[in-house]
């Protein structure tokens, strides 16, 4: 309902799906970085709390023509987020330079309307209080508050890292609004052993992602719904690109 706000800086992620092998390193790094509690029984995929989730994609063909791909799904930080306008208590906003959709967990009342609105399943609810095995709470980073039960949370593009990068820039006398490429990257970007994830300001020609999103193989998830995500995917495989959005049979694949 609210008009889309344009930002000078637009933090974006580009994930090369042909380079993702589904190892899960990004998911582990994300949980550790953002103080997500481990789950003894992580098997319930509808309850396991993950800011970043790797989906398995199939080309749907029988053996031996079967092909497989993996798709890491962070929060899309949509340009037109379906979640922000629906939140009754302004607990999630998109109003900061850079375009990261915030999640204010002390404000959140846990109505889960944002979860219903998000087609990416990027939002997770704390069904229980988080529990760390005895002593493991000592490994909590000082950067991200622990969330109690009853609130919704999601990927923030490691927003605390943006703050830290800006602080460093201030301290070193550089312009915090002109961070160089690589000065701020998310934990998953950093962890991926394959280098499948690139991160930067897509509006800044000096950042690699600025060019990467122009690839003819680049696409975004569910683009036609109008969410305008800030996460791009790249694949040379047409079937993978076609799974990025819903297509009627007669429609050609974009990208």
């Amino acid at each position: 309902m609210s008009a889309t706000q344009e930002f000078r800086i637009k933090w974006g992620m580009v994930i090369d799906l042909d380079k993702c092998t589904g190892c899960g390193s990004c998911m582990v790094a994300c949980q550790a970085e953002n103080n997500v509690a481990p789950a003894e029984d992580g098997l319930n995929r509808r309850r396991a709390l993950n800011w970043l989730l790797v989906y398995r994609l199939s080309n749907g063909k029988p053996f031996p023509d079967h092909d497989i791909a993996y798709l890491p799904r962070p929060c899309m930080q949509c340009g037109k987020p379906s979640c922000v306008s629906v939140c009754p208590v302004v607990a999630t906003t998109k109003d900061e330079e850079g375009g990261i959709v915030s999640q204010v967990t002390p404000r959140c009342i846990g109505c889960r309307y944002c979860m219903a609105s998000c087609p990416y399943h990027a939002r997770y609810f704390n069904w229980h209080d988080p529990v760390w095995p005895a002593g493991m709470e000592k490994t909590l980073t000082p950067d991200v508050s622990v969330r109690p039960r009853g609130v919704v949370e999601k990927c923030t593009f490691c927003h605390h890292r943006l703050m830290a990068a800006k602080d460093r820039a201030y301290a070193e006398g550089r312009d915090p609004e002109k961070l160089p490429d690589g000065a701020y990257v998310t934990s998953c970007t950093e962890a991926c052993p394959n280098g499948a994830i690139s991160f930067g300001d897509v509006n800044n020609p000096e950042h690699k992602v600025h060019e990467l999103i122009k690839s003819p193989y680049a696409f975004r998830l569910l683009e036609r719904l109008g969410t305008d995500p800030q996460v791009w995917y790249v694949s040379r495989r047409e079937w993978v690109r076609r799974l990025g959005d819903n297509y009627l049979n007669n429609e050609p694949t974009k990208g």
Binding site: T21, N35, E40, P193
Partner: protein
């Protein structure tokens, strides 16, 4: 005068008035925020925002990840990739990523435990544990009955353990069975000297046969970094990858081509490649016997054995021929107990393609010089076959050890159920486990000594298996050992001194310093996370193709399985731990239906196989092979070869922690050990299974 009515008016007015001020609302607001800081929700310890970083190397991850450990006020909180590490270049595996959290695994051992007469464990102080072990060592020194098993793959620790074993008058020092031993055996069969590495990073076409080069084989983080860098998002790939194996695993997912072949048909596949290469005019001078053996392996015959379409085999050979720097890597998914014959063929093919000692080829590396006097040489260690030794004890062909010492290994869990590990532990005079975790093996020992983890001790990595160059990196403690755990190296050096053995060093750190000095490395640099790399190779001497051995290994194989029987293929994900560890806390959320269905092991089959057997998805079944059986659930997955069932390895722990116990079943329950025809190597094999509806 205030009457009753006036008073009521006043109270009412005050109440309404207060509501109009922010006092109530602001108070409520604060209250509702601060009542969320329940005492059971951990508060963040900001530690004065004092961040420090220590570079070290992962001993947990077999790929020897370079790690930058972030500490907040001295407290390790994160494992980050180390950009300056020449091997992992900032990448970090899912396993290493959880290493600081794994320190606090509920399975972590807190203090020494001694088994009592009734089989339970009691905690004992270290001095008592040491005295106990010392007495056992003295006894074992007298009868030469020490047997030592090490779970370390590539460190100086193995030299200490082997030196101690030898000093105690025994030659029974073993490494946990791994790909390194198989590869060394294969290399030896060809008459090669030194050790073999694969220069993955510099190849432009890698054909991986069975080896999960992008998930769990060799220096995998280094492989993946190189592979990723060779495939820029905005350019043409500088490296192509073909993966031949029965399951479309994570390596297949990254490969340009997945070549589905039946489990156990790797040799047929490799012979087919040889046949085509020879047919295309590859010179057979010096390897006539190879050419002769290969001649019958036409693509059609290979197709019958492997299930791979002939044109796909031809395509691979064309790619090999067209590549500038092709490389063939043969391995197994489990990375343990593999057969040597396919590896020999892989090496022979690399030789045939002229790839030995080339950049991006198979490279012959010099063996490291031991720093511990009396330590076994690398080659001798590789020649030691634990599987065979266990078998011999179980079959009463040799005496049981009077003292069994296990260092950071979990053979009870990680070796075939039919291998006889439990029998070995039962028959050993005394057994001791140096372990970080109270795992399946530790629980069967007489004495359990809590080990400091890799992040809490000095240790090293000396050329991880598979790497095509000499690589040396140091592990240093980033934190004090938790609880009462201690670095096993120092404990052993102390004990050795007490029983009058001179190991040459007072502490393990001294040994590492000597190692660094022998390699000409600067200790201070190593402590900063610098690594040493050398591209030195040994010259290629003439290799002899062991045609008799290969002929024998080929004999009687590739028979179509019995009707209704399925070949078993495993797939392993590093995130779910290794043979010596288990699923780290965060990784439970990585488990999908590929691994477990409704809490039970997924038995993945392609839909044609499911139809053929009259099964349904989600059905509860048992996989039965002779007396062995495994509970599972049917899962349809088109990325599995015909007549094959794919199972995830690394599940079914019974004695680890809440993140592991009761999740699925252990594929090792289906495995047994057999002698490989030709090489005589004790290899692990899973017989074909029948499916019984449960």
């Amino acid at each position: 005068m205030l009457d009753r009515r006036g008073f009521l008016k006043f109270v009412g007015g005050a109440a309404v008035g207060t509501l109009a001020t922010p006092v109530v609302w602001k108070g409520l607001d604060d209250l509702s925020i601060w009542t969320q800081n329940w005492p059971w929700i951990p508060r963040l310890d900001k530690g004065n925002n004092l961040n420090t970083y220590i570079s070290t190397t992962s001993k947990l991850c077999p790929s020897a990840c370079g790690m930058r450990v972030r500490l907040v006020n001295g407290r390790p909180v994160r494992v980050l990739g180390d950009e300056s590490n020449p091997l992992s270049r900032g990448g970090v595996s899912a396993l290493a990523s959880a290493e600081v959290q794994l320190r606090y695994s509920p399975a972590r051992l807190k203090r020494p435990l001694r088994r009592t007469a009734d089989g339970t464990f009691v905690a004992i102080p270290w001095y008592e544990a040491e005295a106990l072990l010392r007495a056992e060592l003295v006894k074992a020194a007298r009868d030469g009955g020490l047997m030592c098993l090490s779970g370390d793959e590539n460190g100086t620790m193995n030299e200490l353990l082997s030196a101690l074993t030898v000093a105690m008058g025994s030659s029974d020092f073993y490494l946990m069975p791994g790909e390194a031993q198989t590869t060394a055996a294969a290399w030896k069969s060809l008459g090669g000297r030194g050790r073999v590495g694969y220069d993955f990073a510099r190849s432009d076409f890698v054909l991986a046969v069975g080896a999960g080069v992008l998930e769990n084989w060799g220096p995998v983080v280094g492989n993946r970094r190189a592979w990723g860098r060779a495939r820029p998002q905005d350019g043409e790939p500088a490296m192509r990858l073909a993966y031949a194996g029965p399951v479309q695993n994570n390596t297949a997912a990254g490969a340009d081509w997945w070549l589905p072949i039946r489990p156990g048909s790797e040799m047929a596949f490799l012979m087919g490649i040889a046949q085509l290469l020879f047919a295309q005019g590859c010179p057979s001078a010096g390897v006539e016997s190879f050419a002769e053996l290969a001649a019958v392996w036409t693509p059609e015959k290979v197709a019958r054995a492997t299930g791979l379409a002939p044109e796909r085999l031809q395509q691979v050979v064309e790619q090999l021929a067209a590549a500038r720097a092709p490389l063939i890597i043969v391995g197994t998914d489990l990375g343990q107990g593999g057969e040597a014959a396919p590896v020999i063929l892989g090496m022979a093919l690399n030789t045939l393609l002229g790839r030995v000692n080339q950049d991006g080829g198979l490279r012959i590396l010099p063996e490291p010089e031991p720093v511990f006097p009396r330590a076994m040489s690398y080659g001798d260690m590789m020649a030691q076959d634990f599987t065979a030794a266990v078998r011999a004890v179980a079959d009463k062909k040799r005496a049981a050890p009077s003292l069994l010492m296990i260092y950071e290994a979990n053979p009870v869990y990680a070796m075939p159920r039919g291998a006889g590990v439990e029998e070995l532990l039962g028959s050993a005079g005394f057994s001791v486990s140096f372990s970080c975790f109270l795992d399946e093996t530790a629980r069967r020992c007489d004495l359990i000594l809590p080990s400091a983890m890799g992040l809490e001790r000095f240790d090293d990595v000396n050329t991880p298996f598979g790497l095509g160059e000499i690589f040396y990196a140091l592990c240093q403690p980033v934190a004090e050992p938790l609880y009462e755990s201690r670095a096993a190296g120092d404990v052993l050096l102390d004990l050795a001194r007490l029983i009058g053995l001179d190991m040459g060093y007072a502490t393990f750190r001294e040994a590492l310093e000597a190692r660094a000095a022998s390699l000409g490395l600067d200790w201070a640099g190593l402590m900063k996370g610098e690594c040493a790399i050398s591209r030195a190779t040994l010259p290629l001497e003439s290799l002899i193709f062991p045609s008799g051995l290969i002929a024998e290994a080929l004999e009687g194989r590739f028979i179509q399985p019995e009707k209704g029987a399925l070949a078993v293929a495993t797939f392993t994900k590093l995130a779910f731990g290794t043979a010596d560890s288990a699923i780290p806390p965060f990784a439970t959320k990585l488990i999908t239906d590929a691994e477990l269905t409704a809490g039970e092991l997924s038995a993945s089959m392609n839909s044609a196989t499911i139809r053929e057997l009259g099964l349904r998805e989600g059905m509860k079944i048992r996989l039965v092979a002779g007396e062995m059986s495994l509970p599972a659930r049917v899962r349809a997955f088109e990325g599995v070869a015909m007549g094959t069932v794919a199972l995830a390895a690394g599940f079914g722990h019974t004695n680890f922690d809440a993140f592991n116990n009761g999740k699925g079943a252990n594929v090792m329950d289906l495995f047994t050990t057999v002698e490989e025809p030709g090489t005589g190597l004790a290899v692990w094999r899973c017989p074909d299974v029948k499916i019984v509806k449960a």
